[in-house]
């Protein structure tokens, strides 16, 4: 059609760029947001406090992540609905209500963690958190509510190439690869509260509950037909693997540089030392940049995703195309999360590193419950038709749930003793 030809030539460059970004699927985007302030902190602490002993957990975590995200992507493509939508229709108002409350507070914890990341990263440059946090909170809020969020998302994504610096740094540090390989395949479990907490935190930061809702909504937005499902699956697997490769290198580096040196991470500057092999004395700047990007990116997405999830569950108007008065619950929830998330950080002497870590532990504790809901949904033939779970996926999911509940229980039990 002549009209179409005219359209293509006019759009030219931007269209090619657009196709490129269109290929970056929900799986890849989700995994990049996954490496947020909480993620970087948790992986850094895992390496700096336990050396290489927790490295092996990345393998089962990767498997679990792939399985869980694949289920969400599958549910999204086959049903065409978001996860909270499915939960509401299948489990009713009461269960959904309590789940949403739990999710809200867990995600609030994560939001606090993102702003903690902003504060911590800019403190490296000497900017006080009383300036950095309100400014960034306002920036994020304005960006989503007033601005063109989609194009900024692309800028954030490109800046995620920062994680390459961990990988390059990892090779430059010339660690003992034999020992690393050894530790990677040798499971060690210590029934001590710190160890167990860290294990729960590692799971919680890699397989965050909010990610499952976000991934499924993104897949739904993409509008894939059921027959094209394998593209969603490849995208999810690819994204999950990337997350864990980055996690691997962060733990590795912190083990080799910080743990060896016997330093304890108290501030972001300490964590930045992991990048010393690559950047030398500029490691703090590099780290600050990466942490800031990760925190702002997640701070833009997480509260928004939470607001969508909750409004979707209760049938409240939830669209950025509507004015505030037309979608009060949506804008209200979103603004409240930003306000509280940023506000909490402004308390004097607020322990930034701790909050970034413990918010991920809470993720890990909520996860098994979300998984139980998900498992029931993904096995329901009325929803999934022929795409319901096979027994292998069910087995892996049950194992994950049981392990997590056991870990959380052991963690609480040993801490109370």
């Amino acid at each position: 059609m002549p009209a179409t030809a005219a359209k293509i030539s006019r759009k030219g460059f931007w269209k090619t760029l657009g196709i490129f970004f269109a290929l970056i699927g929900p799986g890849i985007i989700t995994s990049n947001v996954d490496n947020d302030a909480g993620g970087i902190t948790t992986y850094s602490l895992a390496g700096s406090e336990f050396g290489l002993t927790l490295l092996w957990t990345l393998i089962p975590i990767t498997v679990a992540l792939i399985v869980i995200q694949e289920m969400c992507a599958r549910m999204g493509v086959v049903s065409g609905k978001g996860l909270s939508d499915l939960i509401r229709e299948r489990f009713g108002a009461k269960a959904t209500f309590y789940l949403m409350i739990a999710l809200f507070f867990t995600n609030l914890g994560n939001t606090v963690s993102e702003f903690a990341g902003v504060a911590a990263s800019l403190e490296i440059f000497g900017v006080s958190k009383y300036i950095s946090v309100p400014v960034s909170a306002f920036f994020v809020w304005w960006l989503v509510v007033k601005g063109n969020y989609k194009s900024v998302e692309k800028v954030f994504l490109v800046a995620c190439f920062f994680y390459l610096s961990y990988i390059i740094s990892g090779f430059m540090a010339k660690p003992d690869w034999a020992e690393i390989g050894d530790q990677l395949f040798t499971p060690t479990i210590r029934l001590e509260p710190e160890f167990l907490t860290m294990a729960v935190g590692l799971v919680g930061t890699t397989i965050a509950p909010w990610m499952q809702f976000y991934l499924q909504s993104s897949v739904v937005d993409k509008g894939l037909k059921t027959e094209d499902y394998q593209y969603a699956r490849m995208d999810v697997i690819f994204g999950s693997v990337i997350v864990n490769i980055v996690a691997f290198f962060i733990i590795l580096l912190c083990a080799v540089t910080i743990f060896q040196a016997g330093i304890k991470i108290e501030t972001a500057q300490d964590a930045a030392l992991a990048l010393a092999p690559l950047a030398g004395k500029y490691c703090t700047w590099l780290f600050a940049f990466g942490l800031l990007n990760a925190s702002l990116f997640a701070a833009s997405i997480l509260p928004l995703s939470t607001a969508y999830t909750i409004c979707e569950a209760f049938g409240w108007e939830s669209s950025l195309n509507r004015k505030f008065a037309e979608a009060p619950q949506f804008y209200g929830l979103y603004s409240l999360m930003i306000f509280l998330g940023a506000g909490v950080i402004l308390f004097p002497d607020f322990p930034l590193i701790s909050i970034m870590f413990y918010s991920q532990v809470i993720n890990g504790m909520l996860l098994p419950f979300i998984l139980i809901f998900m498992l029931i949904l993904v096995n329901d033939r009325k929803i999934m038709g022929n795409y319901a779970n096979g027994w292998i996926l069910n087995l892996i999911s049950y194992l994950t749930i049981i392990t997590l509940i056991f870990l959380s229980g052991a963690m609480i039990f040993t801490s109370l003793r």
Partner: protein, 422 residues
């Protein structure tokens, strides 16, 4: 909704209060639990005709007819059924399951033109009959399901001296969405068709992919065309792609040519050609002519269905002609006085026609100072002309100064709306 019938006692109930109720025998011994209620569709309010239940200690569903009920109070007092009387839990033609089809599912409010999620159902009990009157979509309904209704009331009363009212939608405005079968239910009139096309388009855009297609395919051709015209272009494409070329062409034929051209231009080439082949020849020709023009310029905004008559016609002939053709025209306010080749002599407004002597000729009546644009005219220029002259439509001329189409007010909106932040 309060049916005043003598002074018979009436009670309003909620479905959430009925689900899970114990079913007891006349002596008070429980023998089952209520799982769902079956209504038979009737206007304006369907009545409950059967109960789905599970016997004590069992998991299978069965049903019994509502007429067996002796008393509806704290518990449901019913004579126990023996083996043969237990009917399998099936739903028949013309019946609807309240919990399965409505509770926690999405519905369309065809009065307010919005999609809601059902929190609860409002039933009216008159004598022994239970009728579905409202769908509860409000916060109070949600709190009732969660069990926090009283706590919420105390909270609002204490802090804000505020009493939260119910948010009900009368059943006659409710269109259930939870399955394709429900969309084909013979509810007196097809409710979605009563919505204004722009509202219907909004609702279609808001639904998820599967529901969108189901709703769209349940519409009749005319309603589908009207709604499609108002829908976001990307979604238009997706919806048309789900139809076979014959069905798609039927719908596109009902659209205005310029809208049809826009839509076909967005489709993949082979799909568009397949549809054009199925379309009525004349319409297909019109659309093909419009397709040649880039969407962003005058050529892409104009419509070819405009009134045109020779200068020698009389006012009476013109009005007769308009009456005949009105259904197929995209605008009727201006009549363009032209010859067979498209040379434009002048324009006559409908107002002028109505005020004039029936025997007067168009040539005497027309205004020969016609403001026109060329096919290549840019959007901004067009908008400025509309603003300056206050016309309702502007004709579009080709290089030979023949009239090819007219940009009407709707076309203008397409130009201006993005600037207003549509």
């Amino acid at each position: 909704m309060r049916m005043v019938m003598n002074s018979t006692p009436q009670v309003f109930l909620f479905l959430s209060q009925l689900l899970g109720k114990k079913i007891v025998d006349p002596a008070g011994r429980p023998w089952g639990k209520v799982c769902d209620l079956v209504v038979t569709l009737a206007e304006p309010y369907p009545s409950v005709t059967a109960v789905f239940f599970t016997p004590v200690g069992e998991k299978t569903f069965f049903r019994f007819s509502w007429t067996r009920i002796l008393e509806l109070g704290q518990d449901l007092r019913v004579e126990p059924l023996n083996g043969e009387e237990r009917a399998g839990a099936t739903v028949n033609e013309g019946e609807l399951l309240l919990k399965d089809s409505l509770l926690d599912k999405q519905i369309v409010d065809t009065h307010g033109a919005k999609v809601w999620r059902v929190n609860d159902l409002h039933l009216l009990k008159v004598n022994h009959n239970l009728r579905l009157v409202h769908v509860d979509v409000g916060l109070r309904g949600l709190m009732r399901r969660v069990g926090w209704e009283k706590a919420m009331d105390k909270f609002f009363q204490w802090f804000f001296d505020y009493h939260l009212t119910d948010s009900f939608i009368p059943w006659r405005f409710v269109q259930p969405l939870s399955s394709p079968d429900l969309l084909r239910l013979k509810i007196a009139q097809y409710r979605l068709a009563q919505l204004h096309p722009a509202d219907l388009a909004d609702i279609i855009e808001e639904l998820d992919i599967h529901k969108r297609t189901e709703v769209f395919q349940s519409l009749d051709i005319e309603t589908a065309a009207e709604a499609l015209e108002e829908t976001d272009p990307k979604i238009q494409v997706r919806l048309i792609e789900t139809l076979n070329p014959a069905h798609a062409s039927d719908i596109i034929e009902e659209m205005s040519p310029s809208e049809a051209a826009d839509l076909l231009g967005d489709l993949p080439k082979d799909k568009a050609e397949g549809i054009l082949k199925e379309m009525e020849k004349e319409m297909a020709e019109d659309v093909k002519k419009l397709l040649v023009h880039p969407e962003e310029k005058a050529g892409g905004l104009m419509t070819s269905s405009f009134p045109a008559l020779p200068p020698s016609s009389t006012v009476q002939e013109a009005l007769e002609w308009l009456r005949q053709e009105a259904e197929n025209l995209d605008l009727i306010y201006y009549l363009y006085v032209s010859d067979v080749d498209g040379r434009l002599f002048g324009v006559v407004s409908l107002r002028d026609l109505l005020m004039a002597n029936p025997q007067a000729r168009l040539a005497d009546l027309m205004d020969s100072r016609v403001v026109t644009v060329t096919i290549e005219e840019e959007k901004e220029e067009i908008a400025q002309l509309f603003a300056k002259y206050g016309f309702k439509a502007i004709p579009v001329m080709d290089e030979d100064n023949r009239i090819k189409g007219v940009i009407d007010f709707k076309g203008l909106l397409e130009v201006v709306a993005p600037q207003l932040g549509k």
